[in-house]
Symmetry: C2
Subunit: 95 residues, 2 copies
Amino acid sequence: MSKRLEKIEIEERLAQMQGWTFVDGSITKSFIFKDFKDAFATMTRIAFECEKMNHHPDWENVYNTLNITLNTHDVGGVTEKDFKLAQFIETIIAS
Amino acid sequence: MSKRLEKIEIEERLAQMQGWTFVDGSITKSFIFKDFKDAFATMTRIAFECEKMNHHPDWENVYNTLNITLNTHDVGGVTEKDFKLAQFIETIIAS
Protein backbone atom coordinates (compact mmCIF):
# COMPACT_ATOMS: atom_id res chain seq x y z
CA MET A 1 0.00 0.00 0.00
CA SER A 2 1.23 3.48 -0.83
CA LYS A 3 2.21 5.74 2.04
CA ARG A 4 0.06 8.80 2.65
CA LEU A 5 2.14 11.89 1.92
CA GLU A 6 2.44 14.77 4.34
CA LYS A 7 1.11 18.21 3.31
CA ILE A 8 4.65 19.58 2.96
CA GLU A 9 5.64 16.71 0.65
CA ILE A 10 2.53 17.27 -1.46
CA GLU A 11 3.19 20.98 -1.73
CA GLU A 12 6.82 20.40 -2.74
CA ARG A 13 5.70 18.13 -5.56
CA LEU A 14 2.90 20.47 -6.66
CA ALA A 15 5.37 23.37 -6.88
CA GLN A 16 6.98 21.53 -9.79
CA MET A 17 3.71 20.94 -11.63
CA GLN A 18 1.44 23.28 -13.60
CA GLY A 19 -2.07 23.99 -12.39
CA TRP A 20 -2.54 21.24 -9.82
CA THR A 21 -3.69 22.28 -6.36
CA PHE A 22 -4.14 20.49 -3.04
CA VAL A 23 -7.77 20.76 -1.91
CA ASP A 24 -9.64 18.76 0.74
CA GLY A 25 -7.12 15.93 0.91
CA SER A 26 -6.86 15.52 -2.87
CA ILE A 27 -4.89 16.98 -5.75
CA THR A 28 -7.02 18.53 -8.44
CA LYS A 29 -6.81 20.28 -11.81
CA SER A 30 -9.26 21.57 -14.42
CA PHE A 31 -8.62 21.15 -18.12
CA ILE A 32 -10.28 22.81 -21.09
CA PHE A 33 -10.36 21.15 -24.50
CA LYS A 34 -11.45 22.22 -27.96
CA ASP A 35 -14.78 20.43 -27.72
CA PHE A 36 -16.53 17.40 -26.22
CA LYS A 37 -14.91 14.94 -28.62
CA ASP A 38 -11.47 16.17 -27.67
CA ALA A 39 -12.28 16.02 -23.94
CA PHE A 40 -13.76 12.54 -24.10
CA ALA A 41 -11.00 11.15 -26.32
CA THR A 42 -8.51 12.30 -23.69
CA MET A 43 -10.60 10.77 -20.92
CA THR A 44 -10.54 7.48 -22.78
CA ARG A 45 -6.76 7.46 -23.00
CA ILE A 46 -6.55 8.29 -19.29
CA ALA A 47 -9.14 5.59 -18.45
CA PHE A 48 -6.98 2.83 -19.92
CA GLU A 49 -3.99 3.93 -17.85
CA CYS A 50 -6.14 4.17 -14.69
CA GLU A 51 -7.34 0.64 -15.22
CA LYS A 52 -3.77 -0.56 -15.75
CA MET A 53 -2.66 1.20 -12.55
CA ASN A 54 -5.83 0.11 -10.74
CA HIS A 55 -6.06 3.71 -9.60
CA HIS A 56 -9.08 5.76 -10.59
CA PRO A 57 -9.91 9.46 -10.59
CA ASP A 58 -12.92 11.37 -9.44
CA TRP A 59 -13.63 13.30 -12.62
CA GLU A 60 -16.36 15.50 -13.96
CA ASN A 61 -16.88 16.43 -17.57
CA VAL A 62 -19.14 19.15 -18.95
CA TYR A 63 -18.79 19.54 -22.72
CA ASN A 64 -15.16 20.67 -23.22
CA THR A 65 -14.16 20.90 -19.56
CA LEU A 66 -12.73 18.18 -17.37
CA ASN A 67 -12.09 18.46 -13.64
CA ILE A 68 -9.87 15.72 -12.26
CA THR A 69 -9.48 15.00 -8.55
CA LEU A 70 -7.01 12.40 -7.33
CA ASN A 71 -6.55 10.77 -3.98
CA THR A 72 -5.88 7.32 -2.61
CA HIS A 73 -9.05 6.13 -0.95
CA ASP A 74 -7.31 3.33 1.02
CA VAL A 75 -5.17 5.77 2.97
CA GLY A 76 -7.53 8.75 2.98
CA GLY A 77 -5.05 11.08 1.36
CA VAL A 78 -2.57 11.68 -1.42
CA THR A 79 0.14 9.14 -2.27
CA GLU A 80 2.81 8.62 -4.91
CA LYS A 81 0.19 6.81 -6.99
CA ASP A 82 -1.72 10.06 -7.35
CA PHE A 83 1.35 11.91 -8.54
CA LYS A 84 2.19 9.10 -10.93
CA LEU A 85 -1.30 9.30 -12.43
CA ALA A 86 -1.19 13.12 -12.53
CA GLN A 87 2.11 12.95 -14.44
CA PHE A 88 0.64 10.46 -16.86
CA ILE A 89 -2.37 12.74 -17.42
CA GLU A 90 -0.02 15.65 -18.17
CA THR A 91 1.91 13.51 -20.64
CA ILE A 92 -1.30 12.49 -22.44
CA ILE A 93 -2.56 16.05 -22.60
CA ALA A 94 0.76 17.44 -23.81
CA SER A 95 0.87 14.90 -26.65
CA MET B 1 -34.33 25.41 -30.45
CA SER B 2 -36.10 23.14 -27.98
CA LYS B 3 -38.78 24.68 -25.78
CA ARG B 4 -38.06 24.86 -22.07
CA LEU B 5 -40.48 22.55 -20.28
CA GLU B 6 -42.57 23.66 -17.33
CA LYS B 7 -42.05 22.01 -13.94
CA ILE B 8 -45.39 20.18 -14.19
CA GLU B 9 -44.45 18.77 -17.61
CA ILE B 10 -41.07 17.63 -16.29
CA GLU B 11 -42.66 15.94 -13.28
CA GLU B 12 -45.20 14.15 -15.46
CA ARG B 13 -42.42 12.72 -17.60
CA LEU B 14 -40.27 11.80 -14.60
CA ALA B 15 -43.18 9.91 -13.06
CA GLN B 16 -42.84 7.44 -15.92
CA MET B 17 -39.10 6.95 -15.50
CA GLN B 18 -37.06 5.10 -12.89
CA GLY B 19 -34.69 7.00 -10.61
CA TRP B 20 -34.50 10.35 -12.36
CA THR B 21 -35.20 13.45 -10.30
CA PHE B 22 -35.62 17.15 -11.06
CA VAL B 23 -33.02 19.15 -9.13
CA ASP B 24 -31.86 22.75 -9.65
CA GLY B 25 -33.28 23.08 -13.15
CA SER B 26 -31.84 19.75 -14.37
CA ILE B 27 -32.83 16.11 -14.44
CA THR B 28 -30.36 13.83 -12.72
CA LYS B 29 -29.71 10.17 -11.91
CA SER B 30 -26.94 8.14 -10.30
CA PHE B 31 -25.88 4.78 -11.68
CA ILE B 32 -23.76 2.06 -10.12
CA PHE B 33 -21.83 -0.39 -12.26
CA LYS B 34 -19.80 -3.52 -11.57
CA ASP B 35 -16.48 -1.72 -11.79
CA PHE B 36 -14.66 1.16 -13.49
CA LYS B 37 -14.37 -0.64 -16.82
CA ASP B 38 -18.09 -1.24 -16.92
CA ALA B 39 -18.84 2.38 -15.96
CA PHE B 40 -16.45 3.84 -18.51
CA ALA B 41 -17.54 1.51 -21.30
CA THR B 42 -21.10 2.71 -20.75
CA MET B 43 -19.94 6.34 -20.73
CA THR B 44 -18.25 5.74 -24.08
CA ARG B 45 -21.45 4.43 -25.63
CA ILE B 46 -23.36 7.41 -24.24
CA ALA B 47 -20.65 9.82 -25.46
CA PHE B 48 -21.11 8.78 -29.07
CA GLU B 49 -24.86 9.39 -28.87
CA CYS B 50 -24.33 12.76 -27.18
CA GLU B 51 -22.03 13.82 -29.95
CA LYS B 52 -24.54 12.68 -32.57
CA MET B 53 -27.33 14.61 -30.80
CA ASN B 54 -25.00 17.55 -30.15
CA HIS B 55 -26.32 17.44 -26.61
CA HIS B 56 -23.91 16.78 -23.77
CA PRO B 57 -24.28 15.80 -20.11
CA ASP B 58 -22.71 17.09 -16.98
CA TRP B 59 -21.39 13.81 -15.61
CA GLU B 60 -19.15 12.70 -12.81
CA ASN B 61 -17.53 9.31 -12.48
CA VAL B 62 -15.84 7.85 -9.42
CA TYR B 63 -14.75 4.23 -9.97
CA ASN B 64 -18.04 2.34 -10.51
CA THR B 65 -20.43 5.23 -9.96
CA LEU B 66 -21.75 7.68 -12.53
CA ASN B 67 -23.87 10.73 -11.80
CA ILE B 68 -25.52 12.21 -14.86
CA THR B 69 -27.14 15.64 -14.92
CA LEU B 70 -28.98 16.87 -17.99
CA ASN B 71 -30.24 20.27 -18.98
CA THR B 72 -30.35 22.43 -22.06
CA HIS B 73 -27.93 25.28 -21.55
CA ASP B 74 -29.39 27.44 -24.36
CA VAL B 75 -32.77 27.73 -22.64
CA GLY B 76 -31.60 27.47 -19.02
CA GLY B 77 -33.79 24.49 -18.24
CA VAL B 78 -34.99 21.05 -19.24
CA THR B 79 -36.24 20.33 -22.76
CA GLU B 80 -37.34 17.35 -24.83
CA LYS B 81 -33.70 16.88 -25.81
CA ASP B 82 -32.87 16.04 -22.20
CA PHE B 83 -35.60 13.44 -22.01
CA LYS B 84 -34.53 12.00 -25.34
CA LEU B 85 -30.95 11.64 -24.06
CA ALA B 86 -32.17 10.23 -20.72
CA GLN B 87 -34.20 7.61 -22.57
CA PHE B 88 -31.21 6.71 -24.68
CA ILE B 89 -29.06 6.34 -21.55
CA GLU B 90 -31.65 4.00 -20.05
CA THR B 91 -31.69 1.93 -23.22
CA ILE B 92 -27.91 1.62 -23.21
CA ILE B 93 -27.81 0.65 -19.55
CA ALA B 94 -30.60 -1.88 -19.89
CA SER B 95 -28.82 -3.58 -22.78
